[in-house]
Amino acid sequence: MKKIVISVAVLLICVPVFAQDDVISKYFSSYLDDENFTKVSVTSRMFSLFTDIETGDEDEQEFLEAISKLKGLKVISGDSIEDGMSKYKDALNTVNGKGYDELMSVRDGNQNFEFMIKEKGGVITELLMIAGGKDQFHLMTLYGEIDLKKITKLASKMKIDALDHLRKLDRDDRHDDN
């Protein structure tokens, strides 16, 4: 048992590629005590519990495999706030130049969505979503080993509506294949 604990600790120290960006961590901390926002945090420990689950259903097994490779999910969400758009712009400025590549921008009614990723060695290690509108602001970061093709399935199972926009990527991908 002790050996396992030491191995896990060494692994965690040696694999910082999946660690959440410091800038984003600080951003989340700054909203921690703000009662106008809902804060969600899912830790790597939670995702790891999905690792050993076996199911007869192929779809569910695929979902469980994808989820077990994740290391964390954090969300801050406010839908009746003041200055949603300025918070959105402020968040975009904060992450600008911090190694995120733009994946997709969506203008949906009065809301703007920005999807960004971090990639290392051909593996997507973080998916960041910043969304803002007149009275809304949402920030979500999903980190670990992320398979974008499975992310929409994952999003619908985890009931993250905003990630529905990523379905567009799936369609574009199929279009490219043809």
């Binding site: 809902t38 804060k39 969600v40 945090s41 899912v42 830790t43 420990r45 939670m46 519990l49 969400s77």
Partner: protein
């Protein structure tokens, strides 16, 4: 038997498919009440201390056997889901402020080496899920009025926990929240007087 308990049982008899199982109900109920007043050993001390610190509305203790018993329609999926649960303690606690719930969650991490698995803090819902050694879980869930605290020992397929919670409220399961409610209240009052 109190009127309230008869009503609960009567409600179940309304379902024709369940009538033939009626003879077993009293047995189920007796066992459930016995379980409800018999504290579980070898579980989180901090969790148990909640009953001393707060006024409990409902206090339920389940074992593998009692979890199977409430499955009146013998749904095989449910039995599969709960087969590795050794014990589950359920407290419904009268209004607890959110900052106290956060403090309780921190105490589990600091004093009993639990790890946070998941947390949601919001205007409408607040809950924390904590785990220890892959075979013990604590969930603290703030509802409109109360705090629901669950301590689960054993293994459960983590993706099936919402199903388990839904099952406890479904019509095809014995309504454990009603069964023995009055007896539990009497027992609590007796304990207080002593």
């Amino acid at each position: 038997m109190t009127i309230k308990m008869k009503f609960s049982v009567g409600k179940l008899f309304e379902k024709p498919a369940l009538i033939f199982k009626g003879r077993f109900f009293l047995g189920f109920i007796c066992i459930l009440i016995m379980e409800a007043v018999t504290p579980v050993k070898a579980q989180s001390e901090l969790f148990k201390s909640l009953q001393e610190s707060y006024d409990l509305n409902v206090e339920l203790y389940f074992y593998a056997s009692t979890l199977r018993m409430i499955n009146l329609t013998r749904d095989p999926n449910y039995n599969e889901m709960v087969k590795d649960i050794e014990k589950m303690i359920f407290y419904q606690i009268n209004d607890v402020p959110i900052n106290e719930i956060r403090a309780i969650s921190k105490k589990f991490i600091e004093e009993e080496e639990f790890e946070e698995l998941m947390s949601v803090e919001g205007k409408e819902e607040t809950f924390y899920v904590l785990g220890k050694n892959e075979n013990e879980f604590v969930a603290l869930l703030k509802t409109d009025k109360d705090l629901i605290a669950i301590n689960l020992k054993g293994m459960i397929r983590i993706n099936k926990i919402p199903d388990l919670i839904n099952s406890l409220n479904a019509d095809n399961f014995l309504n454990v929240f009603e069964v023995g409610k009055d007896e539990r209240r009497e027992h609590k009052e007796e304990s207080r007087q002593n």
